[in-house]
């Protein structure tokens, strides 16, 4: 699915991501863990095209996407969510989601001026896709609520829905469970399983160890920009390098 080869990103003299190679398989939940400042978010930014790597290649389904601008990468099927998502607070949930499918449409200024058939058809389609995405994350009932009036967890789900409306193949989730309570975390984990069951590939950065260990098919551990381990949750838990670098002496964290 996604193959990363010798990816390096230098910020001045600092290697934020250093020679990382990894392969994410389709239809799996892949997790990236590591201490703060390990280069996890930079790694996501590189895949999404927000930063250009200093060296290395990123290959999506056999196509080298390294030189592409981020809007093209989104069109190729990489969706993402951020730690915090700025939405249009005084608009409804549905209104916020309609633009999600914009990248699959063509209408321009002229279509707006003459209100063309194409524009009408595409707007209808965007609305349908937005509803589908909202339905998928289980929020159909808040469709007409204002963003300002929904809960933190619902915001997270709306951000997922927005990314899903772009019809991605691979979804990059940056700390999806940050700031939500344990029960809601379980709900979000279920949602990620549902995405995979529907043919998506999920890749997430997360600090909640119990969540990661319970749901990831494969984990990559970054530390100081370098990949120090890769494997199943079981392997990661027993890896002495990881325990030293990340889980530290607190063995309960891994349990």
């Amino acid at each position: 699915m996604l193959k990363v080869e010798n990816l390096t990103k230098m910020f001045g003299g600092l290697a934020a991501v250093n020679d990382v190679s990894v392969h994410f398989e389709a239809n799996k939940i892949n997790a990236i863990i590591g201490p703060n400042g390990a280069g996890k978010s930079t790694f996501f930014n590189l895949i999404a095209g927000m930063h250009k790597p200093t060296s290395g290649r990123i290959i999506l389904d056999g196509e080298d996407i390294t030189p592409l601008r981020c809007d093209y990468i989104a069109q190729r099927g990489i969706g993402r969510t951020f730690q915090t998502t700025n939405l249009f607070e005084t608009a409804t949930v549905l209104d916020n989601l309609i633009v999600g499918h914009r990248l699959r449409t063509q209408s321009g200024l002229w279509d707006v001026l003459i209100n063309s058939k194409r524009l009408q058809a595409e707007e209808k389609e965007c609305r349908v896709k937005a509803r589908e995405a909202l339905d998928f994350v289980g929020l159909s009932h808040v469709e007409n609520r204002l963003i300002a009036d929904i809960t933190q967890e619902e915001r997270k789900r709306v951000a997922f829905a927005l990314a899903l409306a772009t019809q991605p193949k691979l979804l990059l989730l940056d700390e999806p469970a940050a700031g939500v309570n344990p029960e809601e975390t379980v709900g979000l984990a279920d949602l990620m399983h549902k995405m995979v069951a529907n043919g998506l590939t999920v890749c997430l950065i997360e600090h909640k160890m119990d969540m990661i260990m319970g749901m990831a098919d494969k984990i990559m551990v970054l530390d100081h920009g370098e990949k120090i381990a890769e494997g199943t949750p079981q392997e990661i838990r027993e890896n002495p390098v990881v325990i030293e670098a990340y889980l530290g002496s607190d063995e309960d964290a891994a349990a």
Partner: protein
């Protein structure tokens, strides 16, 4: 009671009432001066609508807006006075000029983000002012441009009269609002709003930032050019002071008071401030003593502007009254059955 009144105001049919009132305004006006002030307010409103595209919908604070307004006015003024063009060809030329210059400025300035973009455009606005003031061979410098042609009425109407001119400006204003209403509801308008919500998020949704920002910028400068050209045809005498940064800040004030990013905010903001300043005219310089605190109160209690706050209040009120509940319930049912099916498929 308040709610019913507000609901009445926001009904789609209400706009025809307002158009009718605007059409009848010259009959009610006490004197020709009031018609003149109203025309001028409409011209400013068109410019504010332009600012609303780039700043309200697209989220980029453009401080060169008054400059582009002046470019529109000068293009029309110079072409008709120095080069003997008649009004309408010069009018089209003014629109094209502001669009082209807007494109060039946009391509360069929109590489910058947020405050840097605002500062850059502030400088662009000042450069425009300097050019108009100092490039005497072209612009006549501080003397300004005189003998600007009035709109040619094709022998049917005489636009040098204030009442016909009022209707001309009104027609352009209605067209401007109509276009923005269509734009703001369209996918293109939603694309602009996505950019306002954040560059990164918009990019992750596959939106080409530069292309959309430049498009919004060109649309906004063209609106400024339209307003400027009408202004030149109305006052028939323009000078470099028309490019003063003060005008840009006036436009921003109108926009903020009315409601940034709303459809009727620019009109409400412009009309209310123009008429307020007119009615405080008898206080002369002291009017600012009243005007300043009023503005502060407005910003504190109506941070979304008059229209923005009204719409938000309506929405909340409607929700608490349960008006929107009936259709929601049916939707929940359909969505439940849909997820049910999905769950079966998954199993």
């Amino acid at each position: 009671m308040m709610f019913k009144l507000a609901a009445l105001l926001t009904r789609p049919a209400t706009k025809y009432v307002f158009i009718l009132l605007a059409l009848l305004f010259p009959l009610f006006a006490a004197n020709e001066y009031q018609v003149y002030v109203m025309s001028l307010a409409f011209v400013w409103a068109i410019a504010v609508y332009g600012l609303n595209i780039i700043t309200g919908y697209c989220g980029q604070l453009n401080l060169a807006h008054g400059g582009f307004f002046a470019i529109g006015a000068y293009t029309l003024g110079l072409l008709t006075s120095d080069y003997g063009w008649s009004f309408w060809p010069a009018f089209v030329a003014a629109l094209l000029m502001t669009a082209v210059l807007g494109f060039i400025t946009g391509v360069i300035s929109l590489r910058l983000k947020e405050h840097y973009f605002a500062i850059f455009t502030l400088c662009v606005g000042f450069i425009i002012y300097m050019l108009l003031d100092k490039w005497e061979e072209l612009t006549h410098g501080a003397i300004g441009v005189r003998d600007i042609a009035a709109p040619y009425g094709f022998g049917v109407v005489d636009f040098t009269d204030s009442v016909p001119f009022y209707y001309l400006v009104l027609a352009f204003l209605i067209f401007s609002i109509w276009f923005i209403s269509r734009l703001s509801k369209s996918l293109l308008g939603r694309t602009f709003i996505a950019i306002r919500n954040g560059d990164e998020l918009a990019q992750s949704l596959g939106i080409n930032l530069m292309r959309n920002k430049v498009l919004a910028f060109v649309l906004s400068t063209t609106y400024a050019g339209l307003a400027g050209a009408l202004y030149a045809g109305m006052v028939r005498f323009i000078g470099p002071e028309d490019a003063n940064i003060l005008h840009t800040f006036n436009l921003i004030t109108y926009l903020l008071v009315g409601g940034i990013g709303t459809l009727f905010g620019p009109l409400v903001g412009t009309l209310s401030i123009v008429w307020l300043t007119q009615s405080l005219q008898f206080l002369e310089t002291y009017k600012m003593i009243l005007f300043g605190p009023l503005l502060v109160l407005l910003v504190i209690f109506f941070p979304n502007g008059l229209v923005g706050s009204l719409l938000l209040w309506m929405r909340r009120k409607a929700e608490s009254m349960g008006v929107a509940k009936a259709p929601k319930a049916s939707r929940v049912e359909t969505s439940n059955s849909a997820t049910g099916k999905e769950a079966e498929n998954n199993a």
